[in-house]
Symmetry: C2
Subunit: 423 residues, 2 copies
């Protein structure tokens, strides 16, 4: 079987997975989920024309010639209703958010007026009809869809849900994810130190990558290189929506994982992708028993990830995370990219798309990317130090210092050291 290109492998994976069914969740637990229903406004907002400023509700026609003195007939706070009609030569003191009284059609900011007495103000500037007035329904109109199914629930969206008083809503459920490490050479985290073994870091790095997507994975532990033990673990793992198996998918002679997975009914879609680090990467589907869309929701997916910790993490970012996000209803599947200048030359052997771990700094001309040092896929520190993955096209033979490159941001939360803004 030939090597798939990264984009082809992504396409295969994303065409295989399907949106999961919906479940109900409370507003306080909805951040980061995706709406599975349309949300409609339950009133006009604002419910009537309101003031956008602290000031005076005026008749703009009164201000054609200024200066002019106006009589203050009333004090309208937010939450109050006006009790009087503003007649020519009159105005009402009004707070931000308070309803505009009848007769008035504009608001004059308090800063642009002069108080002559508690009953009289002087205005020296003219304003137009509607000035500093927020018209009825500017935010939302009763019955309109304000949020449609498929919307990711961000803090701003939660503000809108609260505005229309939704305390419980339908969202796509999260996939159930199991993580399995394989190999006699692995040492469990709670086992005593054995110099001849390799500590199992993949289980926990993958756990954290899954957690970063808002999912709590099940950690199945370590399966030894024994066909029966492996089969028992894999069978258990296939009861989840997604099973991540790290190690054991190499071309080596001691590889039991692939045949065992296939024996359990998993149809393997690919097991080689032309990327570095990342080889070998396998993907398979265990088709559900039901028919139609329902069946797709019952499919189980297996990712065979490399045993190398960096390779495993990079494959997760490029293939697993987009799949899990699609299952949860997200439209944004891939890491955000930024453009950066390369700080130093980079050599490359063409043939595979290369993901180079880089740190980003910022200067007047924008981002500067520098390699985190050794790109050996065994050196997890390079991943821990990385701000992003510089993507080297597979036909590249290398880049000179100063070349423009694309970097996928690895930040879970997209913060940076400095504001980098000119104000």
């Amino acid at each position: 079987m030939e090597y798939l290109r990264v984009s082809e492998a992504q396409r295969v994976v994303l065409e295989s997975v399907a949106l999961l069914n919906a479940e109900s969740v409370g507003l306080e637990h909805s951040l980061g989920r995706v709406l599975a229903e349309d949300i409609r406004a339950n009133r006009d907002l604002p419910p009537y024309d309101v003031s956008a400023m602290d000031g005076y509700a005026v008749r703009s026609a009164d201000l054609v010639q200024v200066p002019v003195t106006l009589e203050v007939i009333e004090d309208i706070k937010a939450g109050d209703m006006p009790s009087k009609i503003v007649q020519p030569g009159q105005c009402a003191r009004i707070m931000t958010g308070a309803p505009l009284p009848q007769g008035a059609d504009a608001v004059m900011r308090v800063e642009d007026t002069q108080e002559i007495s508690t009953q009289l103000i002087q205005v020296v500037t003219t304003i137009k009809d509607g000035h500093d007035v927020r018209p009825q329904g500017e935010n939302m109109r009763n019955g309109d869809v304000v949020l449609s199914a498929g919307t990711e629930i961000t803090p701003g969206v939660i503000g809108i849900l609260a505005t229309v008083k939704i305390t419980q809503m339908q969202v796509y459920r999260r996939p159930r994810v199991a993580i399995l490490s394989t190999g006699n050479e692995l040492e469990a985290i709670n086992a005593p130190v054995d110099m001849n073994k390799i500590p199992d870091s993949n289980t926990y790095a993958l756990m954290a990558q899954v957690q970063a997507l808002g999912i709590t994975p099940a950690l199945l532990g370590i399966a030894r290189d024994d066909p029966l033990e492996l089969e028992r673990y894999l069978r258990l793992g296939l009861e989840y929506d997604v099973l991540l198996v790290s190690g054991g998918t190499s071309v080596g002679v001691h590889d039991y994982v692939r045949p065992t997975i296939e024996k359990l009914g998993v149809s393997m879609k690919f097991w080689r992708v032309a990327m570095k680090p990342g080889h070998p990467l396998a993907f398979g589907v265990l088709h559900g028993a039901a028919a139609g869309e329902e069946a797709k929701q019952r499919d189980a997916f297996v990712f065979g990830l490399p045993g190398n910790p960096v390779s495993s993490m990079v494959c997760f970012e490029e293939f697993v995370a987009p799949s899990l996000r699609r299952m949860m209803g997200h439209a944004r599947l891939f890491r955000r990219t930024v453009s950066a200048r390369l700080a130093h030359p980079l050599k490359m052997r063409p043939g595979r798309t290369e993901f180079v771990r880089v740190q980003l700094t910022h200067d007047d001309a924008g981002y500067v990317a520098s390699s985190t040092g050794t790109q050996s896929s065994g050196v997890l520190l390079s991943m821990a130090r990385a701000d992003g993955l510089l993507v080297m096209p597979s036909d590249s033979t290398g880049l000179a210092a100063g070349a423009q490159v694309t970097v996928q941001l690895l930040d879970g939360t997209a913060y940076q050291h400095e504001t980098n803004i000119r104000e």
Copy 2:
């Protein structure tokens, strides 16, 4: 009191807050926290020279003249120890991660060899000493600090913690945050719809912004414009590390919040920042009873946020989030920025730094920013739709279409629709 510039106000806030004390947390709950202790390696990794490939452990001196036929004396799997010494003319079949046997100094990939029989292989290429060998201690050396205090716990860091078998660690604790809305005009989420009231969205949008930082805030509810009720709520809020009060800090006559806060012993640092949206924004400190650094940890901080939902959210991003992140030990305090081209002209009245809600698209030349439409601070939908905040310098009078601008990314998770990579 004059208006502070955004950067000045940020400086005041960040100089006031201090790192909180440490607490113990388990590996499975550590993602996103910041280490409060150095972490050391508990062994050399790899513990000896190991193979970086599936192949044959060879003596590079044997390969000076090729082709050459070598005798296979042993099979070394990952997790096995070699039992024989590789003599001239010999090699050992070796798996990725398995220890290099004595005598061998390089690894020949299986792809570059030809099997003549199970005991004999032919090699046609030469390799140098150390080729495809990962030397002992390449990843980490026993006793070395592999992660220092102040490191943010990312998935890569969790992989390293698992590697050195840390299941419990010291991290800076999270601030306890309380959220209070104020104003007679506000309608609680569980109250019946009253057309004359404004639904309280700020409590929930702020809740979500706090949650996005990994903190579960306490929601104190709505305090009415009554001095005694307000004092009771504020007193309760000041028992937390950080109190966010939205509404009630305007220059209007119905403002009880500022005097009540000051009466409770809070020293107000500023209440006006030259930004839009965002005005008015107040910040104060209630100094703790103890002395020295300990005292700083017991200080309580009050942010008086605008009642307008968009203004409140923008102020949170620019001032509150950086403060909360600093208290938790983060070095990265501010939203990551990207450079973008403006899709359309933008007019501006100079004098205040303006944060324009924009959507980002991507074309061959990079990011393109377009306004989400109305920038009225009452229209929360504009915030829900925004990918970022375009920062307009306070001395700007406007920008033409095509101008390069800086956009702060609002994504909690930094994903995008397309990979935008050329492979």
